[in-house]
Symmetry: D2
Subunit: 328 residues, 4 copies
């Protein structure tokens, strides 16, 4: 049984609290949030206690921390948790600054404590089936990966301003997906973005629509598309092409019903956003972390994965500025 301190009682904190509670091998003991009321409400719902960082990390009965607080707090909580010798599950990203992220990775590796990063998509049943198809040889040698990620609607511009930009905030998930499916590190990154959805995003110095090309040492190519707005719902698809064929996944839909009418054949839209699409993935992700801690085995997503994805995000941002492909 793993006893958790949860940092962050916002949207993702709520998801993780629920999953910890429902997991037969995990229990939620503390909730920490700068907003004490939110911490208390969430803690109360699951018979946990709202507390501060000190207590949450010094209590020897705590085995693990789950970091779902604001990005700027991640590195500090990681460092404190390492000092407290707690296993760590951290939402993406490690940090928006690559050097800080690297520092975290080093600390975690030196302390040799279990660390999982929240690239939840790797736990989606569809992306897992795609990864399995690759490892089982159904695709042959992977030659081309195409990743589509579109959010239903853009976040508030205040969020955009402190997000690190689309490549670090949103496409970072796709960079991780690319690395996982390519099975090889990208060594070349080209990015080109536009502000087409919301001009306020452009004024904030960011883009809302972006296209990226990655290339690995052996020449595999990956294309990524991002948009901050898709009126038909959350759009998360992957296509992997290789010497033996192609695998691809469609989006999860609200239901599997189709209506055949005078004006066409209408079926259900993709589910709304990540909370719905990755509901099961979040549960599996936690399960993987709990197993990693209990069985002393590596989690599916490590601190290094968090660092590598950020490296690609930085390269993409640079490429978008310079108009040249960036070599790593």
């Amino acid at each position: 049984m793993i006893s958790f301190s949860l940092f962050g009682a916002g949207r993702m904190g709520i998801v993780h609290a629920q999953n910890i509670d429902a997991n037969p091998r995990a229990t939620l003991k503390y909730v920490v949030d700068i907003d004490g009321g939110a911490a208390s409400r969430l803690a109360g719902k699951y018979r946990a206690t709202a507390t501060d960082l000190e207590t949450a990390l010094s209590d020897p009965s705590i085995d693990a921390v789950l970091i779902a607080s604001a990005t700027v707090t991640h590195a500090d909580i990681i460092k404190a948790s390492v000092r407290g010798n707690k296993a760590i599950f951290c939402e993406k990203p490690l940090d928006l600054d690559l050097r800080v992220a690297e520092e975290c990775v080093d600390l975690v590796q030196q302390a040799d404590i279990p660390f999982a990063l929240g690239f939840n998509r790797r736990f989606d049943r569809n992306f897992q089936a795609i990864h399995q198809a690759i490892t089982e040889g159904q695709v042959g040698d992977v030659e081309n990966v195409i990743i589509t990620s579109r959010d239903p609607s853009p976040p508030p511009v205040e969020y955009i301003r402190q997000s690190g930009g689309i490549y670090r905030d949103m496409m970072i998930h796709d960079f991780d997906m690319a690395r996982w499916l390519l099975g090889e590190e990208p060594i070349e990154v080209y990015a080109n973005g536009s502000c087409l959805v919301d001009s306020a995003i452009g004024l904030a110095g960011d883009v809302d629509t972006a296209a990226v090309v990655l290339k690995t040492e052996s020449g595999k190519l990956c294309q990524i598309t991002n948009s901050r707005r898709a009126v038909y719902g959350y759009d998360q698809r992957v296509e992997v092409f290789g010497s033996n064929g192609m695998v691809r996944t469609e989006n999860e839909l609200h239901d599997l019903v189709t209506h055949f009418g005078r004006d066409g054949v209408v079926s259900a839209k993709p589910v709304d956003f990540f909370i719905q699409r990755y509901e099961q993935a979040y549960r599996r992700e936690l399960e993987d972390f709990v197993s990693a801690v209990l069985n002393n085995q590596p989690p599916l997503v490590t601190a290094v994965d968090g660092y590598r994805a950020l490296l690609l995000a930085d390269a993409a941002a640079e490429s978008d500025r310079s108009g040249k492909a960036v070599r790593l």
Copy 2:
């Protein structure tokens, strides 16, 4: 908060125990099973107590019973529960004997206690979307309903022998679906069955493959197909046709990935069986019952629905024997 006594610690009892435990408005207090070990194991998992029928029904803190025991026990537990004035959720069927079923319905109605019957399919997201499309007028006047139900593999012949036959045991779900979607009672039933899957089923006096036609007063037609074996998984589909178009649902699949290869385009199979397919439906079904009890409102599926479906099953069995349509 509703406190439950659960009867039956077998496959369905396990499903319901888990859902009661996970439901924030329900709690499991007692588990009763002829197999005391099974009752204890299941009770232990959810901090409940294994006990006998007396205790389970006489404890005044118990609000409701959930009957998931063997079919032959249903009527007696229903009667005892009515005497104990407990709200009742009963797995299908009420009983295999129509008169006994009618007696149960009468008792329940006279006592005016909340009663829900476990026709779980009405809570499937897809069948709900179909029903909603009908009520919203997307189909127009319903003219034709086509229901396909195929189990992945036949049950043991011992089960068949005491099952009441395919019409009462398996197709009864489809009769309920037909009534729900037709929006009108069938008045004519034609059934024709064959033993094509397993000759032992034929020796036991039953069929394993069956085709049924229902007709309502206003002339709506419904066709039902059953098979006890489908090598590709659990096959549960519905198509509703009417003056404004058609709605239909596909099966739930293991995942949404497709592989394009030399030998064809391969996608995932339907999920294995009812436990997987209706996992969410069982949760919603319980939720509906809990709401019915707490808010004093009728549940979606009533005792009368259980009786009506059995009436159709009996008529189908008679039609299969006689080769004639049976009028109700």
Copy 3:
């Protein structure tokens, strides 16, 4: 090279004239129609001559006749063609009277002349793929066939009055499909029809919606659904279920484009009617007949097939009247 006399310059005559003209091994010489103007126009389009039955059958350069005239004329033209020793392609049905149909079959068999009946659906690429899957063993032992046929809109009631009724006029195609896919003769027929689409059809003594169950000697079951109106287009689907799995076909669509929008995911409707759906099938059907004549091999659909389908249609009509399954 096969030289044709074409009887009938209506909708089907036009289709066949075009296909004869486009077929490199066939040529259209004469067109005969009670409406001389129509015959002339059609003949003129393909450098053929409008003429009368005498000439069309006595010209020794004529190898074959194609009968696409009104149903009532079929038997007489067949008989005259047999006397003229011409190969015969005849649109369905042979005749609405079973005895007349039998007479035609006998004549044709005694004269041993090539005879093909126009059950065009057997030449559809999808139904051919289904048939091939069966013969290659992908379905295993066929246990259940489900056939859906819905026309986009009902014909004028004048047509209905002389059509022989839905079973002989419309469902006869499905009876042929059933025999072809079951691979065994049905021995039991149950039919139940309603008038739901157009009350004028009911006043004319016919139904517009019908459900049929067929059973073969070995117990295979087939279900057929017909409607005279489907607002979403021509609906022609088949599903074959057996010990190794299921094959089914979707309808041909206008295109393969899908629009993902705010209100749902919309794709194209099925093509409008038989002229569009079976455009290619009509060409292949003619090609099969031409090959049969030139290579002295049996065509895919024979006079006996026409007779057998009519036998089932008659049995269905009788069952609908009596409410009992009819044994053949």
Copy 4:
């Protein structure tokens, strides 16, 4: 009625000869090919005459030329046809040299003769439906176009050597598609290619796998993927994303049948290659040209379109060499 001289009796010449013959408003008079035997065989099949360029262009009864000969001959035949004042249908590309292509465009425009370029994909029913959805506003403002083109297998390396490279030979179709769907000229081109399929292609100085990003003045982005080999058949898909949603098309399949079996759900593969996929598109393309000539209206694809696509191909080739985006 348009009378044609056809240049080229190879694969594409055969397709066009057949379509000219089948078109009621067109007739094939001459076939010219360096291989006199091929010219004679093709001419003979359609009652045309094999001849030389002089005759084919000087005969005053000839209205139009169809150029389906080797790429190196295109410019000369265009020039001679302009001198002969014949309407011109020319297979892609105009020429591999941009200056020569420009010269052809100028000549054709000065002479003001009807000229259509063979970007056949614009006549595919699916791509037409996508274009129509855009023009009807179903996509809103186009923001992102994703084009996938994969050939079933690579051509012989001798072909590769004189092809001008993947961008000019293969992706040129996608550049035209991009321009057509973006509705705006790309001003920035990034390309990155690899040799992953056949090392002989790399030795010949070309790539067989390529990823391209285009950007227009207003910031619309387009991503193109090419591969010279797809084991599952010809893969030609397009996805267009915008402010009101997304439209996309699937490939044309051999049939619409699906087999549900023990090992998965298997459906038919995409059709083999362009001859099958674009069979109907080639007919429509010719029809469009014939209408353009007869009605004195612009054809859907002009000489300028041919030039513009080549411009993008050249830019892509340069970008692939330099690793930088090329601005136009």
